[in-house]
Structures are given as C-alpha cells and as structure tokens.
Subunit: 255 residues, 4 copies
C-alpha cells in the first residue's frame, strides 16, 4: 500500500522591508505551505507574493494565523478569550484565501503561541476550530500528535492532520521543548532527518529523556526560520522518498 | 417605472474597547452596510459583531477597506504604491467575507483618504479595482459621481454604484469639501435630507459657491460618526420613500 | 497630625479619533494623573493634550505604561519576558516625560494586565521597577497593597505608593475581583465613596466574602472609563476632605 | 586649522525577530549613531540593545524618528499635520532618551519620508523643529544641505548639522534621487567614497546631470541597510582621515 507524508513549512513570515531568507529555495522541496496572515508576520504584499510563489511551485496552501503580536512574532502567549481567538483566525483565513487563485485553502495551522496554547487548552482549540469550520468546513486543521487540536477538530467534523516537527526536540509527554531551553531546536540536518524517518516508518521518536514515544505524523514541519532550513527540507524530502514514502499535500490523503 | 436608491452607512468603525456610537440604531434605516475591515478601524471581534447585526437587520454588506493608519483613522493620505493599495484591499475584502454567512459581499467602498486618493488618481483606482475583481468579480465598486473609481471600475467590467453624501458639502467641481474646512459637514438634518431629495429626484445639488451641479446617485452615504447620524438616516429614509422612491440595496438594481 | 491621601485617575486613554469621555471633568477633582503612553492607548497627540490639561489643572503627572496590545486595551496578560517588560516601561516613561514642562514625572503606575501580572510575579515587578529606576530614580512606583510592586520597589530603593481602588471589589486575599466577574466594578457612587472612607480612616475594607481586610492607601484610584467616574471623583474628594484628610499628590507625602 | 567631519549611520532599524544585518560592524567606523525609535522600526528591546552597543563604541547618539508606518518602514509620505509631526517626534525623542546613560541625546535626524517631506515643507519642518526644541533645546537638528530643516532649525535657535549622503545620488537641485529610480543608491564603495571626499575637501558633488553642485557637510550618512554598508563605512573613515580630516561627533564641532 502506498504510504504518504506531507512536508509543510511556515513561509511568508517577513514584514515590510524585513524579508524571510529562504522561502523560495524551501518551496521546491515541500508539499504544503503555511503562509503567515498579517498578525504575527506577513503583510498583504508579502502574502500576495508568497501565495504566487507557492502556486507557481504547485504547493498546497494553508493559513498560518497567529496572535496579534507583531513585536513578539506571535510567540508570546496572550490571554485572549476563545471568542477573540476564533475571530482572529476567521479574519486571517479570509484574508489569505482572497489572494489565492481558487479562493480555497487546504489547511489551517495556528502559529507559535496560539498553536501551543490550543494544544493544551480545549476551550481555545474548540473556538479556533469553530472559526475554521465557519470560514470553510473543507479546511484541514493541523495539530500536534496528542494535542487538543486533533480531538476538537474531529469532534467538530473537520478533517485533521497530525503534525510532527523535524527540527524540534520533544518532552516525554510529546510536547515540544520550549524554544527558550537549550537543545529545543535541532540544527543538525542528519539528526533531524533520522528522527523524521523513524516517525514516518516506525511511528516512534526519542524524547529528551532518551525514552521512545509513539508518534505518527501526516505532515512534517520544517521551520523556515531555522538556519539551514532549505538544506534540511531538501535532504528530508530525498530521504523520505528513498524510504519508500510518497510526499504529497495532506489534502490528498487526510480524511 | 419604479425608481430605486440605496442608503449606505460606514459602520463597525470602533476598535478594541472604543465602540462606535449609533451603529445599531442606524442599521434599522439603511439598506447597505459598509463595514470597516481592521486597517483604519474595526478589529475582528467588531467585524463579527457588526456583520451579525447587519445580517440580522437584512442589510446588504460591503467592505469598507482603509489605509493602514489606525492612529489617523485612515483619513491621512499615504503615498502607497498602486500594488500596495491593491493588496491591502484584497486582504481586507477577504477578511470581511469570511465573517458573512454567504461568504459573499455586495460591494466595496474604499474609506477616507483611500477613497479620496482613488477618486482623482486613476492608477491607484485601477489597482484597487483590479484587487476588487481579483477578490470577487461580482462585487460592486462604489465611488463618487465623476470619480476615477467609476471609470476604471466600468473599464474593468465591474458593476459600479454612484455615491452621494447626505452630510457633506461639495465643491463646484463635485468633489467633497475637505473635513478640515468650515461647513464641510452638514449637521442640519433637514438641510441634508433636502439635498438628497434634490439629487435623487432632480439629479442636482447646490455646490458651496451657490451654483447647481448635476449629481445623480445610486447610493446615499450617511456617515455613522456624524453627530445625529441615526436621526438623519431615519428621516432620510422616510422622506425618500415619501418622494416615491424605493430604498433597496444597490445590488438589486445596479448593473 | 495632618493626614494625606492622593486621588489618581487613569486618563488620556483614547486613541486616534476615539476619545475618552470624561477626562477634563475628572481632572478638576483629582490630585494625580496617570497618563496612557501609547501601548494600550494614548497616541502622541492625545498625550500632549492630556499632559497640557493636567498641567493646567495643577495635577501631578505619572506614566501609565501598558502592554503592547492596543486591540485588547492592555487588559490581556501576555507572557512577555521581564527584560521586555523593563524595556517597554522605560520606553513609555521616556515618551511621556518629553511632553511635560519639567521633563520629570511624579510616578509610574503600570496599566491593566501588566499591573496585575506584576502584583503577583516578583521577577516581572522587579524588572519593571529596575526600568523605572533606570529612567529616573526619583519616580514613585504605584502598586496595590500587598503586591510585589511594593516589596520590589522598596528593595530597589524607589519610593512607593500604596494604591486602593474606589470602584473595584476585592477578593479575600486583597486582590481585585477580575473585571470579567459580576460585581467586579462598583458603580454605586455612595458605596464606592464609603469604602474609600473606611480605607483612609480605619484602614479596612470589606472583601467579597463579607469579611473585613486590612487595607491602607496612599492613593485612591478612580477609573476614568467607569461610567459615572466624574461624579465619583467629585463626591469622593468632597467626602475625603470632609473626613479631615488633605487631598494632595503622592509626591508631597510618600517616601 | 583642524577640519572635522562626522560619519553617522541609521541603526537599530530591525523590529521584533527581524534584525538589521551589520549594525555592530558599522559602529566601529562611525562617530554618530541615529537610532530608530519604534515608529518605522526599532522596538524597545532593540532600542536598549542598540543604545548599549553605541555607548560601548563611544558613539554620540541621536534619535531617528519616523512616521507611524511600520509596514512601509516610514518611507511612504503621509499627510500628517504639522502638529501631529511635532508630537510624534517629541514622543520618539523622549522614548530613546530614556535608554541612554546620560538621558541626553546629541541630535535628531528625521527618517525616510519625514526627512524628505520636511526638507521641502517649511511648515512641517518648523513643527518638528519646535518639537525637538521642546524636548531638549540642546539637541542638534540634522538636515540636508539646502533643506528647510536647516533654515527653520537656525530660526528657532537650534544648532543644525548639514548632512550629505555617501551612498545616494543627487538631483541637479541638490535633493536626493528617490529610491524608486534607477541609480538612486550608489553601491560601488570607491565611487561613494570619492564623492564624499570631494564634498568634504572641495565642497562639491556631481549631480545626476553631470554638473557639479556646491555641497558641504558636517556629517556624512552611511545607510545601514545598503548592502556593503559596513565595508563602505570602514573605507570611508580611513580615506577621510587620510585626507587630513578628523572624524568626530557633530556635537563636538557644530554650533
């Protein structure tokens, strides 16, 4: 049986004159693009350009909505209400949709602190998932294995995609080690790729305590702002394909 | 033959805890709502609430996109490029669409300085009109009589609606007297209503120099932030109907 | 012996065209003004005007710095780092100082969520207090009775002022009942004034569980955005003076 | 007689995670730093770090205030009123001052579109110069040769510094060729340095029409965001010193 995996990357995360470094190069190796929508990064001019590049590269496009915190790049948790979160996400999905040729997105993957908050807070995840469904019930909601995103997404009848991270180490409970801690970001390409291969072939990953965890993934995230991301995405795709998997947008196989 | 006119109002122009005063009252007298989309006013929470109120009041809904100038309420001209203008408008249209039940808007009416700049600058108006068409070719573009909005809108194959202002005095060339000048805003309800009646029945308005101008209108704008706007909209609707016109959303009669 | 109390109000909390309602009226009844500095509210034009009005009313002026969250009016906790908090506060103090005649402020009173976060988090309060001292070691740091603001402020050698709230009910541990809960804001003027009189004469306040707490105060806060704030400040001042206290800026008696 | 010239660079022009590339390297070659203050770039965390680096490098520090247009990097003209401009500049000067050890700045150099607008509009330049004087009458106002900044600055009793640009070509009337035109930015280091040497030794520069203009300068600007800026600043300083001039902060010789 053919096995599939998606490789996604957060792109378009510049703002004004500040441009992300490697977007174009990365785009030739991934299958889905999660594009910033203006709240944590990505102004309308960036969004249009990034959508254009992603469409030219035949990538599936998703929204990467964040908290309204440009100064903190959406990485600082904010005690917004579930209703606010829902409305912020609807707004950003709609804004990005309008730049696409088809006026349809494949998926929604919350960014940074919003992603982390919703992973553990069901009320917040549910409100956001309702916003996603309200914007377009065909959208796939992307969340980490074991997170509230997946349970509430399924409950609400949305398709969901389980995400794992190529370049981030995980705690024994499967959550990401926070960026502020040493070793949170895996910068060695070979190590990152080996981890992904184990996830997609064995369904396992080694946590920071050295113990293996069950972890499966529909989509592998490569962070566009990690140094070496272009290299990582290139090697990752080659190795995943060498291991017999087909790299394809999550929308072609997630249900 | 039945004659139609639309009454539109800019609503949802608060931000955060700052709420516009009279939106709900005004909504019971108008036929189309132009809703702020977050750049000059109107955050996502306001937008959702305002869309909900407008839908409950059976109003046709349009986008009211502005310049990225929250501090200046979008009223200060900014030398943005046509491409930037186009992208800012696509973004705002998309964001607002996503809050509506039908995911369709009736019209787009640029706000403040963007409206004024595009009235006289064809390159800017054309770029914005292209953005409107790209977002949704069924959208109606609203612009002042004699403005570039109407000519470029028609050129691009968009439906257009000619707008006149109930509460603003006009220069001999048909442009609006700038808000910074005395007498720019007509605060007397009876005077404002009489002016509108002449426009919709005789096709004429008196300019500040006392000379009559030709002026027709598909839609009459009542500014939501003018003191007495609720009162004005109520009296205006009654008098327009008493004069034998049918008040209806522009989408039902503009082509 | 003469007893003193300060009455302070948060003012200048509009933004752009959105103007706070009652600032001018309130200013004739209070002794210290805490002025918004642009992060949660208060753009430079507002700040200049508000400083001018406060100076004309002979009020002592302080900074009211907030979190960088205009959309949420600084009322949503954000997981900023202590270093970020320190830098945000230095920035806002400096900006406000520059608008004053003397280039000196009397006090710093953090706003909203920053005030609440620092009340219970010593690391955050210490970083902010260091920022206050770095900006000007003569500044008085204002914090609630029992809060970390007072302990760290004293540790760092700053003068501190103990604050109580005329219009907010308190939990049994002396913290404020959150605005999201019923009964958090006391809207009855007589009740608010009676509570203050007990605090300044007996050193006691009744918590929401009906039990009396010890509570003293150097300065009483009247929130400018509570309906009836102008009325409250007028009655409060009269009654406090009738009870034999002298209403004066905290800088004249805090050490 | 000893001849002096200042070399200044706009630094600290990142925002959030977006960091300017070459600030530290450039700082070892210049004498004055013009630091972004949060409106077009430079959040409080950046400002503190940049001030710290500039102080460590023994640079004289000035404010580089811009228009409130983060998305456009302050490069798009905005029709703000003179009063707004004055208040925006006072705010930004105050904010930056608070991060310095001495709470004093050497100079104010408006950024981007504000600099250009004030160069030709006396009313705007005067309002800003009044703001500078109000913030601190000892500040030096920096403006291009022939610009309104210099005339109004002198009229108001401020010290002024005449600025020339190492990396920008000039029109026959002495104004800068706009960045949107080809050839506006001089990227060849040798050419840029030769131009500066002519200005500081002969008082002449060649305009784009090939005709020489009179141009003198107290301070030479190297743009931090021009590719090769670090290299340019290094070579420039060496050559200027080789030509017998002393490179020193404008505050030591401007009056």
């Amino acid at each position: 049986m053919e096995r599939f995996v998606d490789i996604n990357c957060d792109i378009g995360e510049g703002f004004g004159i500040h441009r992300p470094g490697f977007d174009e190069e990365i785009m030739s190796h991934i299958s889905s693009a999660s594009i910033a929508c203006g709240f944590h990064a990505g102004d309308p001019v960036h969004m249009r350009q990034t959508v254009g590049l992603a469409e030219a590269a035949n990538l599936a496009i998703g929204a990467h909505p964040g908290l309204p915190d440009l100064m903190g790049f959406g990485r600082r948790e904010m005690m917004i209400s579930p209703d606010e979160a829902r409305d912020y996400v609807i707004y950003q999905i709609g804004a990005l949709q309008a730049f696409t040729r088809t006026k349809k997105l494949q998926h929604v993957k919350p960014h940074g602190a919003l992603y982390n908050m919703g992973s553990r807070c069901e009320a917040l995840a549910r409100a956001v998932a309702e916003g996603v469904r309200e914007a377009d019930p065909d959208l796939i909601l992307v969340g980490m294995a074991g997170s509230a995103w997946l349970t509430v997404g399924r409950e609400l009848g949305l398709r969901v995609a389980v995400e794992a991270f190529a370049d981030r180490s995980v705690n024994p409970d499967g959550t990401l080690v926070p960026r502020s801690l040493p070793g949170a970001v895996i910068t060695d390409v070979d190590e990152a790729v080996s981890r992904v291969l184990r996830i997609v072939t064995e369904g396992k990953v080694r946590a920071v305590d050295g113990v293996d965890l069950e972890m499966r993934a529909d989509t592998i995230c490569v962070h566009g702002d990690t140094p070496g991301a272009a290299d990582l995405s290139r090697v990752l795709r080659r190795q995943v394909e060498a291991a017999g998997l087909t790299v394809a947008p999550m929308g072609t196989f997630c249900r």
